[in-house]
Symmetry: C2
Protein backbone atom coordinates (compact mmCIF):
# COMPACT_ATOMS: atom_id res chain seq x y z
CA UNK A 1 0.00 0.00 0.00
CA UNK A 2 2.87 2.39 0.66
CA UNK A 3 4.02 4.62 -2.17
CA UNK A 4 7.43 4.54 -3.81
CA UNK A 5 10.04 7.24 -3.30
CA UNK A 6 8.58 9.47 -6.02
CA UNK A 7 4.93 8.97 -5.16
CA UNK A 8 2.66 11.11 -3.00
CA UNK A 9 -0.22 9.25 -1.39
CA UNK A 10 -3.15 11.66 -1.33
CA UNK A 11 -5.81 10.58 1.17
CA UNK A 12 -9.12 12.25 0.41
CA UNK A 13 -12.77 11.97 1.26
CA UNK A 14 -15.20 13.19 -1.41
CA UNK A 15 -17.18 15.02 1.27
CA UNK A 16 -14.21 17.17 2.37
CA UNK A 17 -14.12 20.72 0.96
CA UNK A 18 -10.46 21.05 1.93
CA UNK A 19 -9.66 17.80 0.09
CA UNK A 20 -11.41 19.22 -2.97
CA UNK A 21 -9.35 22.41 -2.81
CA UNK A 22 -6.14 20.40 -2.37
CA UNK A 23 -7.09 18.18 -5.32
CA UNK A 24 -7.02 21.23 -7.60
CA UNK A 25 -3.39 21.95 -6.63
CA UNK A 26 -1.57 18.73 -5.84
CA UNK A 27 -0.92 17.41 -9.35
CA UNK A 28 0.85 20.58 -10.53
CA UNK A 29 2.86 20.71 -7.31
CA UNK A 30 3.89 17.07 -7.63
CA UNK A 31 4.79 17.40 -11.30
CA UNK A 32 6.92 20.46 -10.60
CA UNK A 33 9.23 18.33 -8.46
CA UNK A 34 8.98 15.08 -10.42
CA UNK A 35 6.46 13.25 -8.26
CA UNK A 36 3.30 11.31 -9.06
CA UNK A 37 0.08 11.58 -7.03
CA UNK A 38 -1.74 8.43 -5.97
CA UNK A 39 -5.28 9.29 -4.90
CA UNK A 40 -6.59 7.19 -2.00
CA UNK A 41 -10.23 7.92 -1.19
CA UNK A 42 -11.23 6.86 2.33
CA UNK A 43 -13.87 7.73 4.93
CA UNK A 44 -12.92 10.37 7.49
CA UNK A 45 -15.85 9.21 9.60
CA UNK A 46 -14.24 5.80 10.01
CA UNK A 47 -11.26 7.43 11.75
CA UNK A 48 -13.32 9.26 14.36
CA UNK A 49 -13.59 6.13 16.48
CA UNK A 50 -9.80 5.93 16.58
CA UNK A 51 -9.15 9.60 17.25
CA UNK A 52 -12.11 10.60 19.40
CA UNK A 53 -12.67 13.55 17.07
CA UNK A 54 -15.94 14.75 15.59
CA UNK A 55 -16.90 16.28 12.24
CA UNK A 56 -16.02 20.00 11.96
CA UNK A 57 -19.68 20.78 11.43
CA UNK A 58 -20.38 19.59 14.98
CA UNK A 59 -18.16 22.36 16.37
CA UNK A 60 -20.25 25.42 15.43
CA UNK A 61 -17.61 28.13 15.99
CA UNK A 62 -14.92 26.17 14.19
CA UNK A 63 -17.31 25.34 11.41
CA UNK A 64 -18.30 28.98 10.97
CA UNK A 65 -14.62 29.87 10.64
CA UNK A 66 -14.02 26.96 8.26
CA UNK A 67 -16.88 27.99 5.97
CA UNK A 68 -15.30 31.41 5.68
CA UNK A 69 -11.78 30.01 5.35
CA UNK A 70 -12.81 27.57 2.62
CA UNK A 71 -14.14 30.44 0.51
CA UNK A 72 -11.12 32.64 1.20
CA UNK A 73 -8.70 29.84 0.34
CA UNK A 74 -10.68 28.92 -2.78
CA UNK A 75 -10.53 32.53 -4.02
CA UNK A 76 -6.79 32.63 -3.34
CA UNK A 77 -6.38 29.48 -5.43
CA UNK A 78 -8.68 30.72 -8.21
CA UNK A 79 -11.25 27.99 -7.52
CA UNK A 80 -14.95 28.18 -6.86
CA UNK A 81 -16.67 26.17 -4.16
CA UNK A 82 -20.09 26.01 -2.58
CA UNK A 83 -20.89 23.81 0.38
CA UNK A 84 -23.86 21.70 -0.78
CA UNK A 85 -27.13 21.73 1.12
CA UNK A 86 -26.72 17.99 1.68
CA UNK A 87 -23.46 18.09 3.62
CA UNK A 88 -21.57 16.15 4.81
CA UNK A 89 -22.39 12.95 2.96
CA UNK A 90 -21.16 9.38 3.36
CA UNK A 91 -18.92 9.00 0.31
CA UNK A 92 -19.05 5.20 0.08
CA UNK A 93 -20.49 5.10 -3.46
CA UNK A 94 -18.00 7.41 -5.18
CA UNK A 95 -15.25 5.73 -3.15
CA UNK A 96 -16.15 2.30 -4.46
CA UNK A 97 -16.49 3.64 -8.01
CA UNK A 98 -13.07 5.28 -7.77
CA UNK A 99 -11.39 1.96 -6.95
CA UNK A 100 -13.40 0.25 -9.67
CA UNK A 101 -11.89 2.62 -12.23
CA UNK A 102 -8.47 2.29 -10.62
CA UNK A 103 -8.63 -1.51 -10.96
CA UNK A 104 -9.89 -1.18 -14.52
CA UNK A 105 -7.53 1.52 -15.80
CA UNK A 106 -4.83 2.26 -13.21
CA UNK A 107 -4.16 5.22 -10.92
CA UNK A 108 -3.58 8.04 -13.34
CA UNK A 109 -6.21 7.86 -16.05
CA UNK A 110 -9.93 7.50 -15.58
CA UNK A 111 -9.77 7.12 -11.79
CA UNK A 112 -8.13 10.53 -11.48
CA UNK A 113 -10.60 12.14 -13.91
CA UNK A 114 -13.49 10.50 -12.09
CA UNK A 115 -12.27 11.92 -8.75
CA UNK A 116 -12.11 15.42 -10.26
CA UNK A 117 -15.56 15.01 -11.78
CA UNK A 118 -17.04 13.91 -8.44
CA UNK A 119 -15.55 16.88 -6.60
CA UNK A 120 -16.76 19.20 -9.37
CA UNK A 121 -20.28 17.77 -9.24
CA UNK A 122 -20.48 18.05 -5.46
CA UNK A 123 -18.67 21.28 -4.60
CA UNK A 124 -19.19 23.34 -7.75
CA UNK A 125 -22.50 22.07 -9.16
CA UNK A 126 -23.92 21.03 -5.75
CA UNK A 127 -25.19 17.72 -7.06
CA UNK A 128 -25.90 14.82 -4.71
CA UNK A 129 -22.96 12.44 -5.24
CA UNK A 130 -24.68 9.71 -3.23
CA UNK A 131 -27.40 9.47 -5.91
CA UNK A 132 -26.99 6.72 -8.51
CA UNK A 133 -28.53 8.90 -11.22
CA UNK A 134 -26.00 11.68 -10.60
CA UNK A 135 -23.16 9.15 -10.44
CA UNK A 136 -24.44 7.63 -13.69
CA UNK A 137 -24.23 11.05 -15.36
CA UNK A 138 -20.67 11.48 -14.11
CA UNK A 139 -19.69 7.97 -15.21
CA UNK A 140 -21.15 8.30 -18.70
CA UNK A 141 -17.87 9.91 -19.78
CA UNK A 142 -16.04 6.81 -18.58
CA UNK A 143 -18.19 4.14 -20.19
CA UNK A 144 -20.69 3.34 -17.42
CA UNK A 145 -24.39 4.06 -17.12
CA UNK A 146 -26.64 4.37 -14.05
CA UNK A 147 -27.40 0.63 -14.03
CA UNK A 148 -23.66 -0.21 -14.06
CA UNK A 149 -23.13 2.26 -11.21
CA UNK A 150 -25.90 0.57 -9.21
CA UNK A 151 -24.25 -2.81 -9.64
CA UNK A 152 -20.71 -1.69 -8.92
CA UNK A 153 -21.53 0.18 -5.70
CA UNK A 154 -23.39 -2.91 -4.41
CA UNK A 155 -20.82 -5.45 -5.58
CA UNK A 156 -19.09 -7.57 -2.98
CA UNK A 157 -15.77 -7.01 -4.72
CA UNK A 158 -15.86 -3.21 -4.47
CA UNK A 159 -17.26 -3.31 -0.94
CA UNK A 160 -14.30 -5.42 0.15
CA UNK A 161 -11.82 -3.30 -1.79
CA UNK A 162 -13.03 0.04 -0.42
CA UNK A 163 -13.17 -1.28 3.13
CA UNK A 164 -9.59 -2.51 2.76
CA UNK A 165 -8.53 0.96 1.58
CA UNK A 166 -10.26 2.65 4.52
CA UNK A 167 -8.65 0.17 6.93
CA UNK A 168 -5.25 0.77 5.33
CA UNK A 169 -5.64 4.52 5.80
CA UNK A 170 -6.44 3.98 9.48
CA UNK A 171 -3.44 1.64 9.75
CA UNK A 172 -1.24 4.47 8.48
CA UNK A 173 -2.66 6.80 11.16
CA UNK A 174 -4.47 9.00 8.66
CA UNK A 175 -7.05 10.99 10.64
CA UNK A 176 -8.12 13.84 8.35
CA UNK A 177 -8.40 14.98 4.77
CA UNK A 178 -6.54 16.03 2.81
CA UNK A 179 -3.55 14.05 4.06
CA UNK A 180 -0.41 13.63 1.99
CA UNK A 181 2.25 11.02 2.68
CA UNK A 182 5.56 10.96 0.89
CA UNK A 183 8.27 8.53 2.03
CA UNK A 184 6.24 8.01 5.25
CA UNK A 185 6.25 11.77 5.97
CA UNK A 186 2.70 12.93 6.66
CA UNK A 187 1.26 16.38 5.91
CA UNK A 188 -2.30 17.15 6.99
CA UNK A 189 -4.41 19.94 5.58
CA UNK A 190 -4.61 22.14 2.51
CA UNK A 191 -2.61 24.74 4.43
CA UNK A 192 0.34 22.32 4.35
CA UNK A 193 0.73 22.41 0.56
CA UNK A 194 3.51 25.03 0.77
CA UNK A 195 5.44 23.00 3.32
CA UNK A 196 4.91 19.83 1.30
CA UNK A 197 6.24 21.65 -1.78
CA UNK A 198 9.39 22.65 0.12
CA UNK A 199 9.75 19.05 1.28
CA UNK A 200 9.52 17.74 -2.28
CA UNK A 201 11.92 20.40 -3.50
CA UNK A 202 14.58 19.82 -0.85
CA UNK A 203 14.06 16.15 -0.04
CA UNK A 204 13.19 17.07 3.54
CA UNK A 205 14.99 18.59 6.52
Amino acid sequence: MVGTDREIDFYLDFTSPYAYLASTQIDALAEKFGYTVIRRPFLIGATFKTTGRKPLIQHPLVWEYSLHDVQRTARMLGQSINIPVKFPILSVKPGRLFYYFQERDGDQGVAKEFASAVFQAYFVEQKDITDNHVLGQICAAFGLDEADVGEIVKSAGMKVRFKAEVDAAIQRNVFGAPTFIVRNEMFWGVDKLDQLGKWLETGGW
Copy 2:
Protein backbone atom coordinates in the same frame (compact mmCIF):
# COMPACT_ATOMS: atom_id res chain seq x y z
CA MET B 1 -10.58 45.85 22.01
CA VAL B 2 -10.53 45.61 18.24
CA GLY B 3 -7.35 46.61 16.44
CA THR B 4 -7.00 49.50 14.03
CA ASP B 5 -6.61 49.05 10.28
CA ARG B 6 -2.85 48.56 10.53
CA GLU B 7 -2.85 46.31 13.58
CA ILE B 8 -2.79 42.54 13.80
CA ASP B 9 -4.33 41.10 16.94
CA PHE B 10 -2.29 38.02 17.83
CA TYR B 11 -4.18 35.71 20.19
CA LEU B 12 -1.80 33.36 21.93
CA ASP B 13 -1.66 31.00 24.86
CA PHE B 14 1.75 30.52 26.47
CA THR B 15 1.16 26.77 26.55
CA SER B 16 0.70 26.50 22.77
CA PRO B 17 3.76 25.30 20.80
CA TYR B 18 2.21 26.55 17.56
CA ALA B 19 1.67 30.00 19.13
CA TYR B 20 5.34 29.99 20.14
CA LEU B 21 6.44 29.16 16.60
CA ALA B 22 4.14 31.85 15.18
CA SER B 23 5.50 34.38 17.68
CA THR B 24 8.98 33.96 16.17
CA GLN B 25 7.66 34.97 12.72
CA ILE B 26 4.79 37.39 13.06
CA ASP B 27 6.65 40.61 13.86
CA ALA B 28 8.88 40.43 10.76
CA LEU B 29 5.88 39.55 8.60
CA ALA B 30 3.85 42.46 9.98
CA GLU B 31 6.70 44.93 9.64
CA LYS B 32 7.28 43.90 6.02
CA PHE B 33 3.81 45.14 5.14
CA GLY B 34 3.62 48.10 7.56
CA TYR B 35 1.56 46.48 10.32
CA THR B 36 1.96 46.35 14.08
CA VAL B 37 1.33 43.22 16.16
CA ILE B 38 -0.77 43.44 19.32
CA ARG B 39 -0.23 40.35 21.45
CA ARG B 40 -3.34 39.17 23.30
CA PRO B 41 -2.63 36.24 25.62
CA PHE B 42 -5.74 34.24 26.51
CA LEU B 43 -6.63 30.73 27.69
CA ILE B 44 -7.44 28.18 25.00
CA GLY B 45 -8.98 26.00 27.69
CA ALA B 46 -11.63 28.66 28.37
CA THR B 47 -12.87 28.33 24.77
CA PHE B 48 -13.41 24.56 24.94
CA LYS B 49 -16.74 25.00 26.70
CA THR B 50 -17.93 27.16 23.79
CA THR B 51 -16.59 24.96 21.01
CA GLY B 52 -16.97 21.47 22.45
CA ARG B 53 -13.37 20.79 21.48
CA LYS B 54 -10.66 19.15 23.57
CA PRO B 55 -6.91 19.72 23.94
CA LEU B 56 -4.88 18.19 21.10
CA ILE B 57 -3.07 16.02 23.61
CA GLN B 58 -6.36 14.22 24.32
CA HIS B 59 -6.51 13.00 20.71
CA PRO B 60 -3.53 10.60 20.71
CA LEU B 61 -3.18 10.14 16.92
CA VAL B 62 -3.52 13.84 16.22
CA TRP B 63 -1.15 14.65 19.05
CA GLU B 64 1.47 12.21 17.74
CA TYR B 65 1.26 13.90 14.33
CA SER B 66 1.39 17.36 15.93
CA LEU B 67 4.51 16.53 17.95
CA HIS B 68 6.23 15.55 14.70
CA ASP B 69 4.80 18.51 12.79
CA VAL B 70 5.87 21.00 15.48
CA GLN B 71 9.48 19.82 15.15
CA ARG B 72 9.36 19.79 11.34
CA THR B 73 7.86 23.29 11.21
CA ALA B 74 10.35 24.58 13.80
CA ARG B 75 13.28 23.27 11.73
CA MET B 76 11.82 24.87 8.60
CA LEU B 77 11.63 28.18 10.47
CA GLY B 78 15.11 27.83 11.96
CA GLN B 79 13.74 27.61 15.51
CA SER B 80 14.28 25.07 18.23
CA ILE B 81 11.49 23.71 20.38
CA ASN B 82 11.02 20.99 22.95
CA ILE B 83 7.68 20.09 24.43
CA PRO B 84 8.21 20.38 28.20
CA VAL B 85 7.56 17.42 30.49
CA LYS B 86 4.95 19.53 32.30
CA PHE B 87 2.62 20.12 29.36
CA PRO B 88 0.13 21.60 28.83
CA ILE B 89 0.04 24.14 31.65
CA LEU B 90 -2.56 26.68 32.72
CA SER B 91 -0.96 29.94 31.63
CA VAL B 92 -2.83 32.24 34.02
CA LYS B 93 0.28 33.60 35.74
CA PRO B 94 2.27 34.62 32.65
CA GLY B 95 -0.98 35.92 31.17
CA ARG B 96 -1.62 38.23 34.12
CA LEU B 97 2.03 39.34 34.14
CA PHE B 98 1.86 40.13 30.42
CA TYR B 99 -1.06 42.52 30.92
CA TYR B 100 0.68 44.03 33.96
CA PHE B 101 3.62 44.97 31.72
CA GLN B 102 1.27 46.10 28.99
CA GLU B 103 -0.52 48.45 31.39
CA ARG B 104 2.81 49.67 32.73
CA ASP B 105 4.71 50.14 29.47
CA GLY B 106 2.35 49.66 26.48
CA ASP B 107 2.00 46.94 23.87
CA GLN B 108 5.31 47.02 22.12
CA GLY B 109 8.06 47.29 24.71
CA VAL B 110 8.47 45.17 27.80
CA ALA B 111 5.20 43.22 27.32
CA LYS B 112 6.42 41.93 23.96
CA GLU B 113 9.87 41.08 25.33
CA PHE B 114 8.27 39.38 28.32
CA ALA B 115 6.11 37.25 26.02
CA SER B 116 9.18 36.17 24.05
CA ALA B 117 11.07 35.40 27.24
CA VAL B 118 8.20 33.25 28.56
CA PHE B 119 7.99 31.22 25.35
CA GLN B 120 11.79 30.84 25.35
CA ALA B 121 11.80 29.66 28.97
CA TYR B 122 9.01 27.16 28.39
CA PHE B 123 9.65 25.74 24.92
CA VAL B 124 13.42 26.12 24.60
CA GLU B 125 14.70 25.87 28.17
CA GLN B 126 11.81 23.67 29.40
CA LYS B 127 11.32 25.72 32.57
CA ASP B 128 8.05 25.64 34.50
CA ILE B 129 6.40 28.96 33.65
CA THR B 130 3.74 28.43 36.32
CA ASP B 131 6.44 28.66 39.01
CA ASN B 132 6.88 32.05 40.72
CA HIS B 133 10.61 31.52 41.06
CA VAL B 134 11.01 30.91 37.30
CA LEU B 135 8.75 33.88 36.53
CA GLY B 136 10.81 35.99 38.94
CA GLN B 137 13.97 35.08 37.01
CA ILE B 138 12.29 36.05 33.74
CA CYS B 139 10.96 39.31 35.19
CA ALA B 140 14.29 40.39 36.69
CA ALA B 141 15.19 41.88 33.31
CA PHE B 142 12.04 44.00 33.50
CA GLY B 143 12.40 45.34 37.03
CA LEU B 144 10.42 42.79 39.07
CA ASP B 145 11.54 40.13 41.54
CA GLU B 146 9.88 36.91 42.67
CA ALA B 147 7.99 38.69 45.46
CA ASP B 148 6.59 41.24 43.00
CA VAL B 149 5.54 38.39 40.70
CA GLY B 150 3.75 36.69 43.59
CA GLU B 151 1.79 39.85 44.35
CA ILE B 152 0.91 40.70 40.76
CA VAL B 153 -0.40 37.24 39.81
CA LYS B 154 -2.64 37.29 42.93
CA SER B 155 -3.78 40.89 42.58
CA ALA B 156 -7.48 41.54 42.06
CA GLY B 157 -6.65 44.06 39.34
CA MET B 158 -4.72 41.65 37.15
CA LYS B 159 -7.21 38.83 37.79
CA VAL B 160 -10.01 41.05 36.51
CA ARG B 161 -7.95 42.32 33.59
CA PHE B 162 -6.87 38.88 32.39
CA LYS B 163 -10.37 37.47 32.73
CA ALA B 164 -11.69 40.41 30.68
CA GLU B 165 -9.11 39.64 27.97
CA VAL B 166 -10.06 35.95 27.89
CA ASP B 167 -13.76 36.88 27.71
CA ALA B 168 -13.04 39.34 24.91
CA ALA B 169 -11.23 36.64 22.93
CA ILE B 170 -14.26 34.34 23.33
CA GLN B 171 -16.54 37.22 22.28
CA ARG B 172 -14.54 37.51 19.07
CA ASN B 173 -15.00 33.78 18.41
CA VAL B 174 -11.33 32.96 18.93
CA PHE B 175 -11.11 29.20 19.51
CA GLY B 176 -7.47 28.28 19.01
CA ALA B 177 -3.92 29.57 19.10
CA PRO B 178 -2.27 31.14 17.29
CA THR B 179 -5.14 33.22 15.92
CA PHE B 180 -4.55 36.41 13.99
CA ILE B 181 -7.23 39.01 13.32
CA VAL B 182 -6.72 41.94 11.01
CA ARG B 183 -9.68 44.18 10.13
CA ASN B 184 -11.98 41.45 11.54
CA GLU B 185 -10.48 38.83 9.20
CA MET B 186 -9.43 35.78 11.23
CA PHE B 187 -6.57 33.40 10.45
CA TRP B 188 -6.08 30.35 12.64
CA GLY B 189 -2.86 28.37 12.89
CA VAL B 190 0.84 28.78 12.22
CA ASP B 191 0.23 27.22 8.78
CA LYS B 192 -1.83 30.30 7.89
CA LEU B 193 1.14 32.71 8.09
CA ASP B 194 1.69 32.59 4.31
CA GLN B 195 -1.96 33.33 3.59
CA LEU B 196 -1.96 36.10 6.21
CA GLY B 197 1.12 37.59 4.53
CA LYS B 198 -0.65 37.62 1.17
CA TRP B 199 -3.66 39.25 2.83
CA LEU B 200 -1.49 42.00 4.33
CA GLU B 201 0.32 42.49 1.04
CA THR B 202 -2.80 42.72 -1.13
CA GLY B 203 -5.33 44.12 1.34
CA GLY B 204 -7.43 40.98 0.96
CA TRP B 205 -9.43 39.32 -1.80
